[in-house]
Each structure stands twice: as C-alpha cells, then as structure tokens.
Amino acid sequence: MNTIVEGAIRAFELLTSGDRDVFQVTVLTLVVSGIATVISLLLGIPLGLWLALEDFAGKQVLISLVNFGMGLPPVVMGLVVSLLLWRSGPLGSLNLMYTPTAMILTQAAIAFPIVVGFSFAAIVSLNPNLRLRLLSMGATPWQVNWLLIKEARLGLVAAVIAGFGRVISEVGASMMVGGNIKGQTRVLTTAIVMEVGKGNYDIAMAIAFILLMITYSVVVSLTILQQDKKLL
C-alpha cells in the first residue's frame, strides 16, 4: 500500500521536476504508439469498410482471421518481427532491429486486426438501406464511403481507443524488438519492467501512474470526440 502512495508522490515529483529521462521515455511512448495507431487506422478502416460492404468468396474466412488476429498475443508478433529484422533474417540489411521504427511496425501490426474488426462491426451494424438510399440520391461511391464512415464514427472511435490502448500497454513485443535501450527504445511499459527488475518499486509505480494518466487523457479526449456530434 505504501508503495502505491509513494509511487503517486514520486510520479508527481517526476512530472513537475521535468526529469529528462522520464520525459524522453514518455514522449517516445506517445510517438511510437501514436504513429503505430495512425498506420493501423489508415490501413485498417478501409479494409473494415470493404469487408462490411463487399460480398465475395472467402469473406467468412477473412473475417474469422481478423477476429483471430484481434486476440493474437503481442509477444508472438514481436517474435515474428524479430525473426524478420534480425541481421540473419530476410530484412536484416535494413538495420531496423532495436529501433523505434521496428517498434512502430510491430505495434501497427498488433493494432491492425483490432482496428479492422472494430471498423467492420461499426459499418456492418449501420442500417443496410442507408447505403442504397445515399446511392439513389446520386452520391458517388467515395461520398457514400465517407458518409458511412461519418455515420459509424461511434464505433470507429472505439476502434481507435481499442487499438491505441492495446499498443501503448503492450510490453513483450516492445521489449523484444526494441530492446529497452535507454534514450533510444525505452518506453513506459518496458521501463516499468526494468525498474521492477531493479527492485525500484516506487519508480516503477511512478512510471505506471504516468502511463495511466496519459492513456486516460487520450481516451477521455477520444470519448469526448466520440460523443460530441458537432466536433465531427
């Protein structure tokens, strides 16, 4: 119990004193998970839309694969990316192992099926007549897609929240492909694991508080965005 209180106090101290290391780790966490989420959205929402609107052979298989991917253990993704990026791997010559880029790629791959799954569910649950009505009113297919995305924003913002929440809280894969290198690939989650390993529970708890505060701020912003019709 004491550690929790000490952790909260320590977190406050670290934030107000402008500790450079903590600041850097926090910023890197936001940059890596933020970019990864954006990539997964850019790829995932169109795929979700397509899955929801088109009928084709093998659609059920693809949907089941997406649903399977939503539960894929991140550490498995970390292992796969490691095997690809290691010097001995097929992409070894790119020298991406133990870089933030490697972490972004891994996290984007982890968030991608989640975004696809949520987008698919959001679009598919719209009234099916809506699309036909928009088309009959003379909207172009692109306009229809855009209007459907706007109409499904509640579910789509949920996709953003779920994807971002998954990757910012992820630790195994980040440790594996990033290596938790100070000043380069250390993010909040891997820093927590390391501080626990060192027995610095108060610092670990402080970093955990920072992680929670950031995640909560982002989620609150997104929730407000989700609920406020005028903003979208």
């Binding site: 020298n95 390391m194 390993g197 060192k198 027995g199 701020s217 609150v220 407000i224």
Partner: protein, 292 residues
C-alpha cells in the same frame, strides 16, 4: 458546452505534447544522422550489468569515447551467447567462463578479455532452515539445502548465474528435483524478489544483492568460496564468421572497458551509494590469475 471546453483543453494539451515530440525528434536528429550502419554498436550484456546500475554509469562515456551509438541488449548469458552465435550482436559482455570458452573455441567470438569480477553469495532467510550460515564450501551448502528440502529458487534461464548454480548441484552429486526446487525463468533482480517473498534460498551476484538490499530481508549466508568467483569477460563476435558485424565498433567497446577511464568508472560504481564497490576491475589479468 462543458464537454467542448474540456475537449478543447485536452486537444490543446495533446498538441503541446506533440510539439514537444516534434522538437525532441529534431533535437535527436544528430543521433539519427549518425546512426548509419557502421555507427551502431550492438552489445548483449548479462542482466546484472543493468540490474546493478553499472550500465547507466557507462553508457555516456562509451558513446563519447568510441563515437558509436550503443544498443545494449540486457539478457541472460545463455541468450547473449545465442545472439552471438547468430551474429546478431557485435560484442558480448557476460559472466559464464565455461560457456564462453565453448563459443571461443568454435570461432563464434574472439579476443576474450577479463574486465572485472565480483563474487556470488548464497542468500537465504534469517531462520536458515538448512543451517548453511557460515559454511565455507558452497557445494556443502547446496547439499544441506537439498537434504533439508529447503526452498531454493533457481533462475532457470541459462544465464551465467544459472550455469554456475547447475554446476554446483552437479559437484554436489544432486539432481535438484522436487517441490523445494523452483525455477523463476527470470532475471536476477526478479528471482531475488521471489526468493525474498517466499523465504527461500538463492544464488546471487553480490552487485545485484547490494543494489536491491533495501527491499530484501534475505541475508548473505555463504560467501568467500573460490568457486563463487564471478568473472566478467568481454568478447568480440568474429567478423570472419559473420561479415555483418561491426568489428571496429566491437573492438572500440572492449578497448574502452579495459581503458583507464573504463576501469575507473567500473571501480567507482556503487562506492558512494553502498560504501563498497560492486565490481573489482581486472584489466590486464586473465582467469589464470584466479587459478582457473
């Protein structure tokens, strides 16, 4: 209305953070520009080097003196050597002489040099169920632990510490199996905490023990046996076997560890905080000086 105000506030807050990110990225640009292929140095190190805080004291000096950007991967010695065997790292800084000799002989690594040492200790709860306190022989202490079925925590991760521990069981002619023998499969710091929580015995390097002492009720029960000496060697991965390794970086790294400044930093580490050094430097010596 309220929602809008809050959202405006939060969005602007996020923008501040993002601006911070951007400026930070710009600041870091020199590092990124430097990080062309041959400016990166990847070293696999045994966990105790990070867990004891030594790595923190060394990073800046290593990067300044060698001019390379250090990527230090903190793993058990077993995994560190496995990474070397795949040519994934440029150098290794580890503590398991027997395993090291094997990769040295098969040409995976070269230029094995002794950097520093400290020692292992057997720690356990004050109650000391197995009555090992003060024993001078680590093997005898292990025999007593097994005989009394006293709870023992092994790292079980093929690290240098784990290798020594298995060797001690072997010397005691014991195959450790049973509810009393548990494997954490984790690093030294974590294993020490588990042993502390469950009031068991474990083998630990003195540096990690001292670094974590504030959280521990475990006591040092056995120390000083020559078998418990913990030697740390640096080795460079053989560029003839793995052309992709950065051999000049690896050499610069190991040269730094053995340089006057490197040895001074290592010797000074922990002196202020613990009143005693966590590592003793061995520049120029070999394990033969310790009778191996």
């Amino acid at each position: 209305m309220v929602a809008k105000i809050i959202s405006t506030f939060l969005v602007s807050w996020l923008m501040v953070i993002c601006t911070g990110c951007a400026s930070n990225l710009v600041q870091q640009k020199p590092t990124t520009a430097r990080s062309s292929t041959n400016k990166i140095l990847i070293v696999a190190m045994t966990t105790s080097i990070e867990d004891s805080g030594l790595l923190n004291d060394l990073i800046a000096a290593i990067e300044n003196k060698t001019g390379y950007q250090l990527k230090s991967i903190s793993v058990g010695t077993g995994q560190a050597l496995a990474l070397a065997e795949k040519g994934e790292v440029d150098a290794v800084f580890v503590n398991s002489p027997l395993a090291e000799k094997k990769v040295l002989q098969d040409g995976t690594v070269m230029n094995r040099r002794l950097v520093m040492h400290n020692d292992f200790v057997i720690v356990g709860p004050a109650a000391d169920k197995a009555q090992i306190r003060g024993k001078k022989d680590a093997v005898e202490a292990f025999s007593l632990i097994a005989k009394n079925q006293a709870l023992f925590f092994s790292r079980g991760d093929d690290s240098g510490t784990n290798k020594l521990e298995r060797d001690l069981w072997k010397q005691a002619n014991i195959i450790p199996i049973g509810a009393w023998y548990q494997q954490t499969g984790a690093g030294m710091g974590h294993t020490l905490q588990v042993a502390n929580d469950k009031k068991g015995y474990t083998l630990v390097d003195r540096a990690t023990y001292l670094f974590q002492k504030k959280n521990l009720s475990l006591q040092i029960l056995v120390e000083g046996d020559k078998k418990l000496l913990n030697l740390y060697h640096v080795m460079e991965v053989n560029p003839q076997k793995f052309p992709q390794v950065n051999k000049t970086a690896a050499r610069a790294f190991s040269d730094f560890l053995l340089s006057g400044e490197g040895q001074r930093l290592i010797a000074a580490h922990g002196k202020n905080k613990f009143g005693q050094p966590l590592f003793f430097v061995d520049g120029g010596k070999t394990e033969k000086d310790y009778g191996f």
